[in-house]
Every structure is written in C-alpha cells, then in structure tokens.
Symmetry: C2
Amino acid sequence: MARYKIDIEYDGTNLIGWQINSQGSSVQSILQDAIFKFCGEHTTVYSAGRTDAGVHAINMVAHFDINKQFDAVTVMKAINFYLLKEPVSVLNCQIVNDSFHARFNCINRHYKYIVINRPAPLVLEKNKAWWIPYKLNLDAMQQAAKKLIGKHDFSSFRAVECQAKSPIKTLDKCTITQDNDKIIFEFCARSFLQHQVRNMVGTLVDIGRGKPYDIDKIFEAKNRSAAGVNAPACGLYFVNAIYDATNVDL
Amino acid sequence: MARYKIDIEYDGTNLIGWQINSQGSSVQSILQDAIFKFCGEHTTVYSAGRTDAGVHAINMVAHFDINKQFDAVTVMKAINFYLLKEPVSVLNCQIVNDSFHARFNCINRHYKYIVINRPAPLVLEKNKAWWIPYKLNLDAMQQAAKKLIGKHDFSSFRAVECQAKSPIKTLDKCTITQDNDKIIFEFCARSFLQHQVRNMVGTLVDIGRGKPYDIDKIFEAKNRSAAGVNAPACGLYFVNAIYDATNVDL
C-alpha cells in the first residue's frame, strides 16, 4: 500500500462541490474515477477542504491510498491523462507516510475571494468572480475586516446546516486589497465553519456599500440573521493547505 | 447622428473572431445585433483590431454611428442589457466627434500573450492561455525578444494570407516577464501584420525550448517558413488601443 498526497486545481463552475453525491459530478468522484481507470483500484480521496458547488481551487491538497506502488510522477501523469476532459488537474504528487491525512493534519487553510467592482458585466472572469456594479468603500471594508481577525464565536457567520462541534474559530488573516477594479479578500485559519468565508465576504461587501453593520454586534448576536448575505460561490478559491513538514515527508 | 466610442471586453473562445462572417458568431455581429435591439438601427461597428477566432480582448476600442442621440451611459447600459448572454461586454462609452475612427486614428496597439509553463494541464485558465508542459528558458527568450524591437521587414512573421501593403513595421515594445508558472509576453506597435504577434510568440517559445533560431536570420529570410510555429489563439489578448486626445474629445 502506498499513500499519495496530491495538489489539485479545479474549476468548480459545473461541479456539485468536493464531496461525492448522486446529484452530479464532484471533484472527489472525478478523481476517484480517474484513479480507478488508471490502476483498477477503488479508493477514497480525502481533501483538506470540502468546498461547495461553484467554488474553485488553485491548490487543494488531498490524499489517497492504492495497493500497487508507482512512482509519484507516473501517478500524476496517469491521473491527468484520465482527467483531460474534466475541470480538475493534478499539479503535483508525492508519496507520503501513511500517517499523513490531508484533512486532519492540516494546520492552516488559505482562501481568497475575488470581487470585480465595475459597471460592466463580467466576460473574461464570468463564473470566476462576484460582479458588483455599485461602488464599494474599500476603507470601510478594511476597517471591518480587522475586527474579524482573532478568536471569536463565529455563529453569526455559520451556515444553518453547519455540523462543526464548536462555533469558536481563530481567524489568522483577513485582508482586502484592490488592483484596479479587482478586490481580493484573503483569509487564513486552521479551519473554517461551513459558509464562513462567503458569509464574511457578503457582510464586508454589505459594509462596503454602506450598510451600518457593526462586527462586534454581529459576533455578540450569535445568530446568522445578524450578519450580511452569503457571497456567491463563484468568487471563492481554496488557495492552499499547510502541514507540518514532519507529517508530509516519508 | 452621433458617433460613440466604446471599450469592449470579450472572451473569444466560442467566436469566429472580430469580423462578421456567415460561419458563426463574431464580436462585430454580436455588437451590431445588440445595438439594433436597443435602438432599431442597423449600424457598422469598426474596431482598432480585427482579432482572429479564439483571441480575447481586455479592452478593444471600437466606434459606431446611430441617428437617434442618447447619452453615453444609456447607450452602454442598453447594449450591455442585450449582451447579457453573450461573451462580450461594454466597459465604457463616450460620444466622440465624427472624425474619430477606431481603426484609422489608432496610433498604438497593445497585445499580451499568456503562456502557462507547468507539467499539469490547465483548468482555471483553460482556453485563456497556452499550456506548455516542457520547461522554457526565459533568458534565451528575453535575449531574442530584444532583437524583435525596432523597424524591420516582418515578412517571416506574417500570415501567408496577410493583405497589408507593406511588411515593414516598427515594434515599440516586446517584453517577457515571468510570475511563477505564468509567462507574459507584451507587444506594442502602431500596427501589426496578420498573425504577427502569434508568430513572434511561437518563435520565441521555440527558442525557449532550445531551437537554434537566430532572429536576424529570420528577418533576412523574409519567408514565413524561416520562423517558428504560430502560437495558438487562446493565449492572445488585445489589451488597449491608443489615440491622440484631439481625435477623441468632442
């Protein structure tokens, strides 16, 4: 048996999300099918994050086991061969020791969210960003973003159906930068609640268009209805997952 | 009669190019149809550059006349309303004096070409860049790029069917920069021959993978077969067109 760690890029536009489900194509089902076509083995692929329908990944990290052992480059090329018509690509592959777990060993997750703030509808970035035609106040959003950083009860930013045991999370990074009409939100934390990033972005954008939200009061309310809208999935990207080197190396 | 100058973004992936043709949807036909739906007038839209099938535009400049006069913001919003399902968007609209011509008054055109140089097939940038899986030598390409700058006979970089009167062009800018696995080629000139940018990129990439091309000898040959491959359309972007301010203002 060998365990492989893979870095994956995907375009979530036409996918139902990370997780296997009878409703349609998922990143997990596409990868498992490609692995089966390559080596004839049914395996389960585990990821650092289980993204929703429409969410993209620049570098998702995942792992799986197969019984026959191949070198890592062969595995990457073979899976990519069977992925050629799919919106998923393996960027890198590495053999890891069998205690490595893409989800449970991950010590930090990095997301970014892209807003295009301009009057004209999106074409080149259609399905790849949230189009906001009304002018956003960057400074107001940046001031509010600072208040999200740290250890808080994020109940107000949590999907109603979220199954995490605790709503207490520590947000390590929350920055907003602007490059012409592109506004980039970046978030780092050990872990996030379901819809937490999209709910934070939706609330920050509401603040950017002038709604008088107070982040402290939203935290105090511990109620989803106290925060702003859930930003659309198409603007969200899983950027990377960080591990202790000791968990990765063979 | 009023003349409107418009800035346009388009995704050329499923288009036959700029120019109207019975073979399929073109940027020109899509715009003319949207203008007709908005104001009931048949007009011709003229652009700074007539891009090929698959080529994109970040900011193409064009103009057209209509008899009824509307303010520029109304024209932009109305056209965009009828473009909502199309891969074309009007970024900006301005009323100009009727001597302005998007093609003939343009004094400089700016193109960029994107290569993604990595082993893994493209997903997020599929149809938006040229995927090159073998390692390119950036320094060799940059040295060759410098030799393309200036006034030359570009016959070796010209499509066989190119109808320009003279093959003599002056290339003002030709730079290559790298940002991780993304390699960006930028070109500025008053005008270009048909396929000139894609033939220059194809030749530079051939040099980057070790082919012993000599730019001086390619110029001397004045023969298309002396230069490298025609780079695929999907990596090419029309970036902007420059005009004398006197030709634009009312």
